[in-house]
Symmetry: none
Subunit: 201 residues, 4 copies
Amino acid sequence: MTQPARTKQDVVAEFRQSEIIDAARRVIARDGPQKASMERIAEEANISKGTLYLYFDSKGALVREATERGHAEMAAYVNAAMSDAGSAIGTINAYVRSTLAFCDEHEMLFRAMNTYPDSDGDVTSNAVARYVDGYIERLQQVVQQGVDAGDLRPVNARRFARLLVEAVRGIVIERLREKAPLPVNEDAEAIVAILLDGVRA
Amino acid sequence: MTQPARTKQDVVAEFRQSEIIDAARRVIARDGPQKASMERIAEEANISKGTLYLYFDSKGALVREATERGHAEMAAYVNAAMSDAGSAIGTINAYVRSTLAFCDEHEMLFRAMNTYPDSDGDVTSNAVARYVDGYIERLQQVVQQGVDAGDLRPVNARRFARLLVEAVRGIVIERLREKAPLPVNEDAEAIVAILLDGVRA
Amino acid sequence: MTQPARTKQDVVAEFRQSEIIDAARRVIARDGPQKASMERIAEEANISKGTLYLYFDSKGALVREATERGHAEMAAYVNAAMSDAGSAIGTINAYVRSTLAFCDEHEMLFRAMNTYPDSDGDVTSNAVARYVDGYIERLQQVVQQGVDAGDLRPVNARRFARLLVEAVRGIVIERLREKAPLPVNEDAEAIVAILLDGVRA
Amino acid sequence: MTQPARTKQDVVAEFRQSEIIDAARRVIARDGPQKASMERIAEEANISKGTLYLYFDSKGALVREATERGHAEMAAYVNAAMSDAGSAIGTINAYVRSTLAFCDEHEMLFRAMNTYPDSDGDVTSNAVARYVDGYIERLQQVVQQGVDAGDLRPVNARRFARLLVEAVRGIVIERLREKAPLPVNEDAEAIVAILLDGVRA
DNA sequence: CATGAATGAGCCTTCATTCAT
DNA sequence: TATGAATGAAGGCTCATTCAT
């Protein structure tokens, strides 16, 4: 019964944190994690520089959280899409398509964050690596199941998973650079088609 | 007739430029393009900080040139390997293998430089993009020839080329992150095998 | 008739002030007057930062009051000891001994506060000077009485009083710095012996 | 023969260092070691803030050096005066007189620096303690010799030395606080007279 | 040409103080 | 009266860039 009172404060605080993280993500996306200044982030969040330090211990901590949250959001989206797919091939398809789609919608947010490895030293790269490893892990299992089920040829599942993830990342970054990238569908289908059937005659 | 005198100067100047760029590449490789300081680069080149500005307008220009030269060297190496290969499939093979090999040997030099897109804003990304586009262009032609020759299935050559390049870049970056990456051969063969024949049963 | 109501408030207010001052003294003793932060003092007093400003105009005022109170306590202790002594020599003895003893017992509280002149500008030095002058004044009278009574040689009473006070202060500070100072008795006796009888053969 | 060339640079550098230290001493004397800002010191030295860091690693280092140099100068002056005195009593006299005189002439420089123990934590207090210990050591020896020679009564030499040093320090600080202190001679004589012959009838 | 001392804008962080609740 | 979130002025420090020698 004392919870609601405490919660009210917490809600406000969490909201503020969220606003700051969002502002940070915008600034980081525009300027990169190193050039993003606390000054700019504060402006973007319409608060004062000092207030940032009420919610985050340091710039490093804020950048870390911003990166983390960005990847967490993407992971939620992508994992949901993968879970809805049935077969191995369907899951692969879902991974490619949802990743491309998500990054398309959050262009600004991911421009800087997908840089890899990160020039911020290890500040953010750990978070990135963790999520990437998560995708690889999951895809590896799916691929193995596909192999076991006879849907896929007996390839090294981990290696294929890694190749898939890296290829998709490459395409995402490429798409972010392009002014008018192809529709997600086309790129996704092409990736999946090639990775599934190869190009050899 | 005034040419020889000027040329002599030029030679010296170019030599100096070269030395500076090499020093810059070493420092950038170690510290990343942002943390690499002019001070540090000057030390590495055994000249004074002021002298840097006799040969380069700004830090941005120097980083740009250093990146450019790094990619130029790689392009020379990779293109030579591709030229030695006969068929489309052989060329693709050569591209993958030589890229992985080169990056392996120049780990330090490419760690920072392969960041993409670059947190330095557009300072270096243009140079990177130009080279990447070069590889894609060339691979596209080769793939098209392979398709025409009946060696490859009728895929969209450009799209495949791009996928190939991005996949290789992803693997390269991954390899740079790993402490004990697989032998170049294994990774190269896996990439080529999957991209040529796919994974579908 | 409005007095009682006002008084009740006052009692509460004074109690609060007292608590705050005590907290401030603890923090100041630990961190020094400059590094002692209002945040820290508020925590120590179990109130909020803003509340501090309901009872004190500024950090300077609070530090001043805290110093003041510390010296007032010491003055009460030392003056009581001096009052209990009969002769001039006894009073001098009492001053030295009680000062050393008090500072020993309140080490933490006096470490920072005895800095002199104070790095806070004139924030606290006035308070310190007032108390020091009080001791000198009293000792001067006592010494003069001792001279008049023939117990002491005809010295300049004020000058001797000042020398006594400053010597004791020096020894106190020295004792605070030492990890294992001599027993109070020994230092006190030595000071008194030298000041009374000198060292000349 | 190559020395002069190197020396020229060094001379300039040393001169700059000296100027900075002098400026720092003035600012520290006025504002205390904590409130003395690099900005103010730079202004006082008529150079830019950044230049300070060409000559000193940090504010702490600069404050340390400034304190050190101040005490070194005083030690040179005081030790010279003591060396010129013959007997134990003469040396004691010289110590008191020269210390008072030096501090009088360098009022500004010593106001903050004689604060003891120092609120800057251990930044400067080590230097202070070292010099103080030096004086005590030397005086102890002299006093012991005086005792051995029969000039002084058999007192604990170390304890007397410490009392002497602390008393003088107290008087110095007191003098710095006074607007119109007595002539050095008078205070010095009074101190010496009391410490030599005491006040007891 | 070469130098490196000097500059100063800019960054991250702290903290006394204020004010809406 | 009490709170504590918010503020913003400093402060220490770094580093790309300039310029007198």
